[in-house]
Subunit: 242 residues, 2 copies
DNA sequence: TCAACTGGTATACGGCGTATACTTATTCAG
DNA sequence: CTGAATAAGTATACGCCGTATACCAGTTGA
């Protein structure tokens, strides 16, 4: 009955599943999933590593629980009239969670099995599409097309080495780079984003809207999602024939 | 001059950078990147772990070299008249490489810095787009939109737990699942893919073509890629207004 | 021939997840 | 209230990992 008081009186509060998971999430927010070892979590709780195993089976399960915990926030996304707007809102809600907890991206990708919250998110997206009148085929293909984007993240794909400090050396490095990768340099120096960090949110929404508007158009023109004789599932576009 | 013979005579061929990398690739093909530890590579070469460090700086660099090695194959992709067809062909070439070497996906995603072959692939895609007349803005956004797909892979996002063996137990598990995730079950049981493993290649090409055709249409209708007052970069679609 | 260099080895350190066996704290029945 | 049962936490150890350091032997070049 008053067990909790007893525990506090005898030195420190007892461990429980929730406290282990919360501590692990804090640690992961600060130091990433790599920095969230059983030993680090235990230390932060002022406890022996093996104490954790009285509350969770192993590290893999801990990561699952951490993930499900932060993904719960996605569920409370307000509805919308249009299916695409609703899907859009839900995916952007996922993105907000993933931005706050960057390690969740790695967690999603490294899980061997889908966790309940992962399934729930996907189920809700598919339900919105069905409600919007999409065929099962189109729902299926669309989920594939959205793939990782449904979680609100894209991988950074252009982490380039930082230029040398010495100006002369830097100039030579830039020149070498321009010779090896002219198109990259052309884009970087021509577009309005030149030199500036680009707006990740805007880029994410661009790609998302590109996919969603494509799916919408397919739903209007080719709802049964047939396959043409060339093996392409999309209605042939002028520039894509061949 | 005859150093190599000497080496052979004295027991076994000498180690070199290439042999280390090749062995590591073989190991990764068979057992994944996780299974490719310095110790495992050394053992396969019948050598002490520390011997490897005479030829490569550390494991991180080894993975870089492995990656660049297999990505070289992408370069020899035949040209095409249309920019989108050419991009499509190159990405599908990347996909063929990544299918043969599944660990390369993890390698690309875990690298802190882009390697030369990674940059070369991206540069060539961007060059094709520039040649096709796309604006730097559109090239930029398109590269973001293609993101991981430019490497020819999508993450499996629905690894569901395998059903129990006992038939009765399985029936109950299915029922529970259907109650929790009705849309997932609806899709799985309604679409022609019901029960069957779906065609990964076809799904990949679907998503790729969805993106490419969307980019092509933008290039025709809105080549400068303006941003509307709602912050959307795409021309407003009927169903996406809101 | 002998010094310098290079390739390979031996040993060790600090990290990791976790199995096993134990002690201590708490709970609950009589 | 007491004592047995149970749960929580600890101690120790094992086998992995990457790699620093020190050493030794084979090869090369002067």
């Amino acid at each position: 009955m008053y067990g909790v008081y007893m525990s506090i009186r005898s030195g420190r509060p007892r461990l429980d599943r929730v406290r282990v998971i919360d501590t692990a999430i804090d640690l992961a927010d600060a130091h990433g999933l790599e920095g969230t070892s059983m030993r680090n979590v235990a230390e932060k709780l002022d406890v022996t590593p093996m104490a954790l195993y009285k509350h969770i089976a192993n590290r893999s399960q801990l990561v699952d629980e951490m993930l499900d915990r932060v993904l719960e926030e996605i569920a409370s996304t307000p509805p919308a009239d249009d299916w695409a707007d609703a899907v859009r809102a839900r995916i952007l809600a996922a993105r907000r969670v993933l931005v706050r907890h960057p390690w969740a991206r790695d967690a999603i990708e490294s899980r061997p099995l889908a966790t309940p919250a992962v399934l729930a998110h996907m189920d809700s997206l598919m339900a919105l599409m069905f409600d919007g009148g999409l065929s099962p085929e189109l729902v299926h293909h669309s989920m594939h097309a959205l793939s990782t984007r449904m979680w609100g993240f894209t991988r950074d794909v252009l982490p380039t080495p930082k230029p040398p400090d010495d100006p002369e050396e830097r100039a030579r490095a830039m020149a070498d780079f321009a010779e090896s990768y002219p198109a990259i340099v052309r884009m970087a120096t021509t577009s309005p984003h030149a030199g500036l960090a680009c707006d990740d949110d805007a880029e994410f929404e661009f790609a998302l809207d590109l996919l969603l508007s494509g799916i919408e158009r397919l739903n209007e023109t080719n709802p049964k999602m047939g396959v043409d004789q060339a093996g392409r599932m999309l209605p042939t576009e002028p520039g894509l024939s061949g």
